[in-house]
Amino acid sequence: MSAAVEIDRLSVVRGGQPVLLELSATVDAGTVTGLIGPSGSGKTTLMRCLMGLQRTAIGAVRVLGRPAGAQATRGRVGYVTQGVSVYLDLTVAENLAYFAAAVGASRAEEAAALDAVALGEFADRRVDRLSGGQQARVSLATALLGGPELLVLDEPTVGLDPLLRDELWTLFHRLAASGATLLVSSHVMDEARRCDRLMLLREGKLLADGSPTDLLARTGADDLDAAFLRLVRAQPEGS
């Protein structure tokens, strides 16, 4: 299996504080990989590094075989930020049309993206008149345009009802089955179960890396929450 993302000893220091520390990992192509960790563990910073947005990154990050943020890969990587980064004063359809023009996607793809996040009936609604969960889905829809090979999704399911969350995870796996690679961050352990592979992040360090069943077997825990706790406690003191 080839790697969609290769991270080699990545460190980020912000305001004198290390946010990421000598992190090395790979994300296999065609998988749904969960980036799991508590708030403040460095998930967003790591994702920004993959998009080439972090100015103070030290180390090597290669995305789809190129340095992170390279011009050549920009249309092939979809990104959903943690906040809603679409135009609140435009309608859903206007937002999609603009991002479609940015990546060169067709009208049919706009409709498909809207369907994928179940927002078809809200196409003509202004984004600032939608609920928080609906706004997050507009953000997600813009990232689906252009058939990206890699999707970097920063907490895409926060604030969604369980049914919708389930639908989105089904969508993620469908995209992976068609060849795309997804890196999805979450601080909720029950979402970790639905990933092919997990990267557990804590205080800027990669605590563990493997499939959910691997992690359970390795720690001898009954569920992933307990596995995470055991991994944290197994860490040497003061590191």
Partner: protein, 243 residues
């Protein structure tokens, strides 16, 4: 080019969803010029002298404020960063804004000019086309400077403060209130490096004479060249990478 047009279309659509801003943009210059006309009700010569200058200053000021707030909003809501992760280039964004707000300023100036020449009875003995040209380039200059300065504001409160901090000194020193030639050397020197001074000089000259002079050429060149310089500075401030 397709991405540039998409950006200008998007910016104009955002304006369309905000009719109050559009209303203020179009009506305020007309109201102020009407006010000026009746303040100098018995001195039509004063109105004829001042109105062309104000016609050049309004779009500059309005575009400055609108652009700095719009771009600041793009920076703070993360849409700018998000768009820059797509194949959309900085140039597409800059040119998109320039086309959209340029078009808006044409409408703004056109309406203000129509009100001045029609009901307010403005007399422009000089070259009216040239006055309009100065006004338009001025609007672009305001837009470019607003875009650049938005990089230094962290909130909309700060962005709005740039109006008194950055635009008012130019208004005081551009020759609107006191002739530039009579200023103290330091003020004169400051006035000389402010692009608005040349715009106001140019409009003054073009309004009184229909002959094209070397001074007008210099004024127009300075204002025209300031636009790409300010846009270039703006481009530097549109960063893909942030700390």
């Amino acid at each position: 080019m397709r991405r540039t047009w998409a950006t200008s279309g998007r910016v104009l659509r955002q304006l369309r969803h905000d009719p109050r801003t559009v209303g203020l943009m179009l009506v305020v210059p007309c109201l102020l010029l009407t006010l000026l006309r009746y303040v100098f009700d018995d001195r039509p010569d004063v109105f004829d002298r001042a109105a062309p200058i104000l016609l050049a200053i309004f779009p500059f000021t309005v575009m400055f404020v609108i652009t700095s707030v719009a771009v600041l909003r793009e920076r703070s809501t993360g849409t700018l960063e998000r768009v820059l992760t797509t194949p959309m280039s900085k140039l597409d964004i800059l040119a998109g804004y320039a086309i959209a707000f340029g078009a808006a300023s044409v409408v703004q100036v056109g309406l203000a000019l129509a009100v001045c020449l029609g009901p307010l009875g403005l007399q422009v003995p000089g070259n009216l086309g040239l006055v309009v040209a100065f006004t338009f380039v001025d609007a672009l200059l305001g837009m470019a400077l607003g875009l650049f300065l938005s990089a230094f504001a962290h909130s909309e409160f700060q962005a709005v403060q740039f109006l008194p901090a950055f635009v008012l000194p130019q208004l005081l020193l551009c020759g609107l209130l006191a002739p530039r030639a009579q200023m103290a050397p330091v003020l004169r020197w400051l006035s000389d490096v402010m692009p608005l001074s040349y715009a106001v000089d140019g409009v003054k000259r073009a309004a009184v004479t229909s002959t094209w002079t070397a001074a007008i050429t210099t004024d127009l060149l300075v204002v025209c060249l300031s636009v790409p310089i300010a846009l270039g500075l703006g481009a530097l401030s549109l960063r893909r990478q942030t700390p």
